[in-house]
């Protein structure tokens, strides 16, 4: 006998969204930089969950492996190298006013985009069309349809690797 684990996608969506947004805010506001990095990782995991809801499981795994597995490690490592700064989030005079201004700009932008989207809402699809995106479709599209970006990506990766190494190298 089989028990269907039927959780409504709406509930999953709401939970994931809450986690993602709260963790993103925490990433910017946590006192310790390390907590910020962990919150950033949690936020990325929430976004990976959104990708799973959007039928892109490979993308979700990519997100976890690259962001949580690699970028967060690099960030933690850098934080530990510049350790003297850890714990002292610079709060000086004037930050208050700037904070309010930044909040205004960001809020205005977000509200306007969301408002536009909500206005256009009736014209947008409310249910995803039928049809499944399978993992094995990704490879042919990646290689056959977009071969030039692949080569450019190789150049980008090499440039980033060499650039970062030459930057971090000690000058003598």
């Amino acid at each position: 006998m089989e028990i269907a684990l039927a959780v409504p996608p709406d509930a999953v969506f709401i939970v994931l969204t809450t986690i993602t947004l709260l963790a993103a805010i925490l990433a910017l506001q946590a006192k310790e930089l390390i907590y910020g990095a962990i919150a950033l990782g949690i936020s990325f995991i929430g976004i990976a969950g959104l990708f799973i809801l959007l039928d892109a499981p490979y993308l979700a795994m990519l997100q976890i492996a690259i962001y949580v597995g690699a970028v967060v490690v690099l960030i933690l490592f850098t934080i530990m190298l510049v350790r003297r700064e850890v714990g002292e989030e610079v709060v000086e005079r004037g930050e208050r006013g700037e904070g309010a201004a930044g909040l205004w700009i960001a809020g205005l932008l977000a509200v306007s985009i969301a408002g536009l989207a909500a206005l256009a809402g009736p014209n947008l699809a409310s249910t995803p069309p039928a049809g499944v995106l399978s993992v094995s479709e990704l490879g042919p599209v990646l290689v056959t349809d977009y071969p030039v970006p692949l080569v450019i990506l190789a150049l980008l990766l090499s440039a980033a690797l060499l650039g970062a190494l030459m930057l971090a190298k000690v000058e003598r």
Binding site: I66, E95, A114, A117, L142, L165
Partner: protein, 102 residues
């Protein structure tokens, strides 16, 4: 089912959080966090729109692939820059990075 609009609203909220961090924070690593959050907001949109196309198409997912790769590289170079700035200035406060010569 979840409507496309809700994904756009989530992504707009993430973008707002990112812009706020970008404009207010002084710690260089926090600014990097903000940039990553903005990139992720864009990625959600790509994945959502490509799913709601009729018929669904994987091209949007491929764009997210490249976007994730590019932002990982951006984090690598950005953190190397932060290391250099720390070595030169012994601080990662962006307001103090006002020397034109190391």
């Amino acid at each position: 089912m979840v409507a496309l609009v809700s994904y756009i609203i989530v992504s707009a909220a993430l973008l707002g959080i990112g812009i706020y961090g970008l404009s207010v924070k002084r710690n260089a690593i926090r600014i990097l966090f903000a940039v990553e959050i903005i990139v992720n907001a864009a990625n959600i949109n790509f994945a959502a729109f490509t799913r709601y196309l009729n018929p669904p198409n994987v091209s949007g997912q491929v764009i997210v692939f490249y976007s994730i790769a590019a932002s990982a590289m951006e984090a690598a170079v950005g953190l190397a820059l932060i290391l250099v700035a720390f070595r030169v200035n012994s601080s990662i406060d962006v307001r103090k990075m006002d020397k034109l010569k190391g």
